[in-house]
């Protein structure tokens, strides 16, 4: 046999070095594989497809509101107001849906022993950040350059970004919980998308939460995403009313959910491994 046996480059490296190197290899390998295909499409098409949904929602609500000849609920541009609501909400919805993938039963079985579940979570989260960042930048950039909406460039970019980061964390935590719950009760995979998409309307994409009647406002305030939306809008509108903008509530909910998800995962791991 004439073949040369492939040699490792770290064949006799130390143990710690080996672990680090292996971690790097797994993450980069997964990154390339997961980035190649999305929704059964090639890289670019798959990512455009995942960005279509918030755009369609913004367009339909925008169309509806112009047909009803309503003035924008806040600020000068209806599309900007809707966009500042729909994009963070969809960041949450899509993250909570997508982060179910890395921990589902199939992905758990179909892996090499070197890939750990949390490598998959990290890679899916990273790719998701990239794809949503592209769509978000395109939307707000397009509104600024093509729509001539000067307010589409945030006054306070730091506030806008930290709001998105907090919403993303909440989405990741919810996604981890979802994936474990869905493995325990498979019907959760049907319930959650319906529930998540319906939650759009309770997170304030087309109304100003502060202008709600005080009685119902308290109930709306239970939804952590609405705090994220208002936080995000503070980045665009300097004088946006700051009721229902409790940063700590959103972050607390995200961390509590994350802790709950990780504990649930650790607690049910062996049970699920053996059942599947």
């Amino acid at each position: 046999m004439g073949q040369a046996y492939p040699n490792g480059r770290i064949y006799s490296a130390g143990r710690r070095r080996l672990a680090l190197r292996q971690q790097f290899n797994v993450l980069s390998g997964l990154l390339f594989r997961e980035a190649e295909m999305r929704h059964g499409q090639s890289f670019a098409l798959g990512y455009i497809a995942s960005g279509i949904e918030p755009l369609v929602i913004v367009a339909t609500i925008g169309l509806l509101f112009s047909a009803l000849a309503k003035t924008p609920p806040y600020g000068g541009s209806l599309l900007l107001f809707l966009g500042t609501g729909v994009f963070p909400i969809y960041l949450f919805i899509h993250t909570s849906l997508r982060l179910r993938q890395p921990l589902n039963a199939g992905a758990q079985r179909q892996r090499y022993p070197a890939e750990r579940p949390f490598d998959h979570i990290a890679i899916h989260a990273l790719l998701h950040i990239l794809s949503s960042a592209i769509v978000t930048v395109l939307f707000f950039g397009g509104l600024y350059y093509l729509g001539g909406v000067n307010a589409a460039i945030p006054e306070d970019p730091l506030a806008a970004l930290s709001a998105l980061a907090a919403v993303l964390l909440f989405g990741i935590a919810t996604g981890i919980c979802n994936s474990v719950i869905a493995r325990l009760f498979p019907f959760w995979d049907v319930i959650w998308p319906a529930f998540a998409r319906a939650s759009l309307h309770f997170s304030g994409p087309y109304f100003v939460a502060a202008f709600l009647p005080p009685d119902s406002r308290w109930y709306f305030g239970l939804n952590p995403v609405i705090h994220g939306v208002n936080w995000f809008r503070h980045g665009f509108y300097p004088f946006y009313p700051n009721q229902l903008t409790d940063h700590n509530y959103l972050l607390g909910a995200a961390l509590a959910m994350l802790a709950f998800g990780l504990l649930l995962e650790a607690g049910t791991r062996r049970h699920l491994e053996e059942r599947d």
Binding site: G8, R15, N25, F32, R33
Partner: protein, 247 residues
């Protein structure tokens, strides 16, 4: 070296397969895991490779261990074989091109590598999975029962690959056939039904112990094996005899 620190593995239904195993195993030698059925050989290979995690205890690996040879769960059958091989190569720190050339070369695959793996006949998939194992550089290769899949025509090929790889790397081979253990290994961990596993430095010693264990329960046996060295102690498990006859 692999250090097992009080490792226990229990199924959800409560059956303990491996109980409080504390032992150091060599990774630079060719070691057999020899034992009768249901003594946790496959479980041990799974634990060492990391496919399953112990219920209690810790496993410290001071070497780069392979997945169980022929591991095909991680393949994506909708993707071409080439992409699957490249992914495995990236994860296990080999050069993707080298690995693809190696696997394609020894199996004589050409255009098949670029079609989705689900179009590949199942024996070829298995052969591909084993060839991939040998293609990747590990310190220690883990085998569960066989060193290469079925087809007698290919037996020499797998034997050649095994011998070539174990010149510089170690191997751990789980088997319940002393003949296989003797042919492929120099030392053994003997798994026993009612006692803790015993590591034997010499493969003959291990086989003697294994056969002693097999003879201990005075059950009806089928004396058929002709090449026994020790006819008196050889009458073992019916199961074991069938496995040998069928081989």
């Amino acid at each position: 070296m692999i250090r097992l620190d009080n490792v226990t593995y229990t199924y959800a239904r409560g059956k303990t397969v491996i109980a409080n195993l504390a032992i150091d195993l060599p990774t630079h030698r060719r070691m057999a895991v020899l034992g009768p059925a249901e003594t946790g050989k496959t479980t041990l290979i799974g634990l060492l490779s990391g496919v399953i995690d112990p219920a209690e205890g810790r496993i410290e690996r001071f070497a780069h261990l392979s997945f169980p040879a022929g591991y095909s769960r991680a393949f994506r059958f909708s993707h071409p074989a080439r992409q699957n091989l490249a992914f495995a190569a990236r994860i296990y720190d080999a050069d993707p091109e080298e690995v693809i050339d190696f696997v394609g070369g020894i199996l004589g695959l050409g255009a098949e590598l670029d079609r989705p793996m689900r179009d590949m006949p199942i024996p070829t998939r298995m052969a591909l999975a084993y060839a991939l194992t040998y293609a990747l550089p590990f310190d220690t290769y883990l085998f569960d029962n066989i060193i290469g899949p079925g087809d007698p025509a290919n037996r020499d090929l797998w034997r050649q690959l095994y011998d070539a790889r174990t010149v510089s790397a170690g191997a751990i081979l789980a088997t319940r056939q002393p003949r296989v253990a003797e042919a492929h290994c120099d030392c053994a961990l003997v798994m026993r039904r009612h006692a803790a596993p015993v590591f034997c430095d010499d493969i003959r010693e291990a086989i003697a112990l294994f056969e002693e264990d097999a003879a201990a329960p005075a059950r009806a046996a089928t004396p058929e094996s002709a090449e026994t060295r020790d006819q008196g102690r050889r009458e073992g498990d019916g199961e074991h005899a069938v496995a040998q006859a069928g081989e």
